[in-house]
């Protein structure tokens, strides 16, 4: 019997052989002019370019605009999908397909899981809230913040009583964790090390809502808990991550006690830069013994 993991790797190998190193990036714009004809004629190695790589801001579909330069300047000022033209009153096929692609990425980011290998590779200790599956997680925000007694005990054993506890949660975008964590997490740890603060025993929480960090705060009695969590995806990016940080968080504490660094992704706050910033915030919280609005006042 071939297990699921072997099967996955088998498929990956086959796919790799099919494209023979011509990833979508190197393949970009390969189909031009009369090459289209060749492709139709059976050149199996030529693939259609990746539509997700079209830069929307630079793609003006209005065929004969009154002021092309002015239109391009307008597009430069917003990520909104403008200058998209129309077929009758409906969309052009290309923008309609791109919209579907971006929605597909957003949905997959929500309904997929962070790979177990990824959790292991980043030395995260895996745990989970009481949600039994993704569906329950999506519909029961109250359960995405609760842990079983058994899990709490395991977390206690693993974490001990740290000064700073870092935890990673899937939240509403598993894709954002896989895209950003490997740049953000080392930057936080390095930043804290400069201040003589060691962080070990980082956690990964499956089916994690933000207030799950309050439970971890109570279980570990850490001075500061920092949660890196996937944001609800939009169509512009499905890979945005946030950091929620709190000084001695407790269950049912006011939301105003959290400090938030949002919009962490390649097109927003770059992940490594965010990590350095988060480390400084944590240091300040320890010094001031406060977080959230209280930290602003301190």
């Amino acid at each position: 019997m071939v297990n699921e993991k072997e099967l996955k790797s088998l498929i990956e190998n086959i796919l790799h052989e099919m494209v023979e190193g011509t990833s979508s990036k190197t393949q970009k714009n390969v189909l031009k002019g009369n090459e289209r004809g060749q492709a139709a004629g059976g050149e199996s190695k030529i693939t259609i370019p990746d539509i997700s790589e079209v830069e929307i801001r630079k793609d003006l579909l209005v065929p004969d605009p009154y002021d092309k330069e002015g239109y391009m300047e307008m597009k430069e000022k917003t990520p909104a999908r403008i200058g998209v033209w129309h077929a009758g009153p409906r969309y052009m096929t290309s923008t309609s397909l791109r919209f579907k692609a971006d929605h597909a990425a957003a949905q997959d980011a929500v309904f997929s899981y962070v790979d177990e290998d990824f959790v292991e590779k980043n030395n995260l200790y895996p745990t989970a809230t009481v949600c039994k599956d993704k569906d329950e997680y999506i519909t029961r925000p109250d359960l995405g913040r609760q842990f079983s007694d058994e899990e709490k005990e395991k977390i206690k054993q693993h974490c001990g009583n740290p000064k700073v506890q870092i935890m990673v949660g899937d939240g509403l975008s598993s894709a954002s964790i896989e895209a950003n964590l490997e740049d953000t997490l080392p930057a936080i740890k390095q930043g804290l090390k400069v201040h003589g603060i060691d962080t070990e025993n980082d956690l990964f929480v499956k089916h994690c809502r933000v207030p799950a960090m309050d439970v971890i705060g109570e279980v570990t009695d850490a001075d500061v808990v920092c949660l890196l969590v996937g944001e609800r995806p939009g169509l512009v990016t499905a890979e945005s991550m946030s950091a929620y940080i709190a000084y001695k968080p407790t269950v049912d504490m006011p939301e105003a006690r959290r400090t938030v660094v949002s919009n962490i992704h390649q097109g927003g706050t770059p992940p490594a830069e965010a990590g350095a910033h988060i480390a400084e915030l944590i240091k300040r919280m320890i010094d001031k013994k406060a977080s959230g609005l209280d930290l602003n006042k301190a």
Partner: protein, 455 residues
């Protein structure tokens, strides 16, 4: 008042009107999360049977939240026309449903009945209606309102042009406005959700929208959807505002969570009439959505449909120009999938019209909901048939600031062309002058080119 029935030989005994109301609701994940939904499909029908036999007087005497403890209840009940109520209080909910649907009952008849209804009665009758009932019933009710132009007239379908930008970049906002105008959007309002809720920034946004409106002499309304107190301060500092906006809830506690009260909204309306830029008399704009009260733990064990109806009862007191439900924005823990969002969109629109307010819908969904753009297009068609006053529209249906999807400029124009509807007359004429629409309100060859406005 009978709160029990037998169905398929099994007896169902309900303990309160609120329990009957909650269990008679079509399935919603929010009611399930609140622990008040029917436990089986049969129990749901049993509750509907009991509800059908309640009288309007039963519902008047049993408001969802007591009169003494809740301002929203007081506003709704104090606004009821006593004479009309006395003439219909012995009707059952069943009779009210059939009266609304009766071919001999005109829009005017329903508008008159409406003045004798509380929001609980409006919610109750919606619970007895199928989707097509909701469409047919709403279609019969014409509600117009006037700010700078008149919305809701027969033969029109209006839109809010929503030009949001992730950093409030003024050029970026203008770009999305011009794009919308090039497709005929914006006759209900050009309305911006600002990222920055400070007075200084909101003043700047109001001025930017006013500048565009005046530059092209666009016959429409503008709105900046900051918190009401921020808008009021902006107006006092000289910001040009046609409308004042606020999100509202169906309980006093919910409104407190939004930082508002009835007095505050009355003060805002008064300020808009005295210092605003619009002709009026309708100068308020409200947004709602099923589940808002539960999300702020202000639901009092009442189902989300009934609370939504109470939002409309509250809104009605302030004679709004626009009210819309942001139906799928709140997420799957309140409305799970496309079926629930479509149902809620039709319910909200019907209840708004039956309450006598100028009702629109933000046909929308978030990316963690089991719904997609096709579902929104379906709901757009259904609501257009139902005679919705206006729909929210964003560039290519994608709001790049709030990170959710609504309808696009293209959808509104497609729906108009499908049904032979036009924008508000003055706006339609303006679009024809700008050569965006032809004399049949269809897109011209020049439409879709926003750079036409770069003059």
């Amino acid at each position: 008042m009978i709160l029990s029935t037998t169905l398929f030989g099994r007896t169902y005994q309900f303990n309160s009107v609120n329990e009957v109301m909650a269990k008679a609701n079509e399935e919603k994940s929010g009611d399930i999360m609140a622990g008040i939904a029917a436990e089986s499909a049969e129990e749901r029908v049993a509750a509907k049977v009991v509800l059908a036999n309640l009288t309007l007087e039963d519902l008047y005497n049993n408001p969802a939240i007591p009169y003494e403890t809740d301002e929203v209840t007081r506003i709704i009940q104090d606004n009821v026309n006593e004479k009309i109520y006395q003439s219909i209080k012995n009707w059952t909910v069943e009779e009210l449903r059939e009266k609304i649907l009766d071919s001999d009952t005109s829009s005017n008849d329903i508008r008159r009945i409406s003045r004798g209804l509380t929001s609980e009665m409006v919610a109750a009758v919606a619970k007895l209606m199928s989707n097509l009932d909701l469409i047919y019933g709403a279609r019969k009710i014409t509600v117009t309102a006037h700010c700078n132009t008149t919305i809701g007239l027969e033969g029109t379908l209006s839109t809010r042009l929503q030009p949001n930008h992730p950093t409030d970049n003024e050029d970026g906002i203008v770009a999305s406005i011009l794009e919308g105008l090039a497709y005929g959007a914006g006759d209900a309002v050009i309305g911006l959700n600002p990222v920055d809720d400070t007075v200084e920034s909101v003043v700047r946004m109001f001025k930017k929208l006013e500048e565009i409106k005046n530059k092209f002499k666009i016959p429409t309304q503008t709105s900046v959807l900051a918190h009401v107190t921020t808008q009021m301060e902006a107006i006092r500092q000289g910001a040009p505002a046609d409308l004042i906006f606020q999100s509202i809830a169906g309980s006093e506690k919910g409104n407190t969570a939004f930082g508002i009260s009835g007095d505050l909204i009355a003060e805002a309306k008064d300020l808009a009439l005295r210092q605003g830029t619009a002709a009026g008399p309708n100068v308020m704009y409200f947004e709602t959505g099923q589940g808002a009260e539960l999300s702020s733990n202000a639901h009092h064990g009442v189902d989300q449909l009934t609370l939504e109806a109470r939002c409309y009862g509250f809104a009605k007191k302030y004679d709004p120009f626009l009210v819309n439900t942001v139906v799928g924005f709140i997420g799957p823990e309140y409305l799970y999938d496309a079926k629930q969002v479509i149902r809620a969109g039709l319910e909200d629109h019907f209840m708004g019209k039956l309450s006598g307010i100028s009702m629109g819908v933000d046909v929308c969904y978030t990316n963690h909901m089991k719904a997609d753009q096709d579902d929104m297009e379906n709901l757009g068609v259904l609501l257009t048939q139902a005679g919705v006053n206006f729909l929210i529209t964003a560039p290519h249906a994608d709001d790049v600031m709030l990170n959710y999807q609504s309808l696009g400029y293209h959808e509104a124009q497609s729906l108009r062309e499908l049904t032979g509807l036009s924008p508000i007359k003055e706006f339609d004429e303006w679009l024809q002058k700008m050569e965006v629409l032809d004399n049949k309100s269809r897109l011209t060859k020049k439409a879709g080119d926003a750079s036409l406005f770069l003059v």
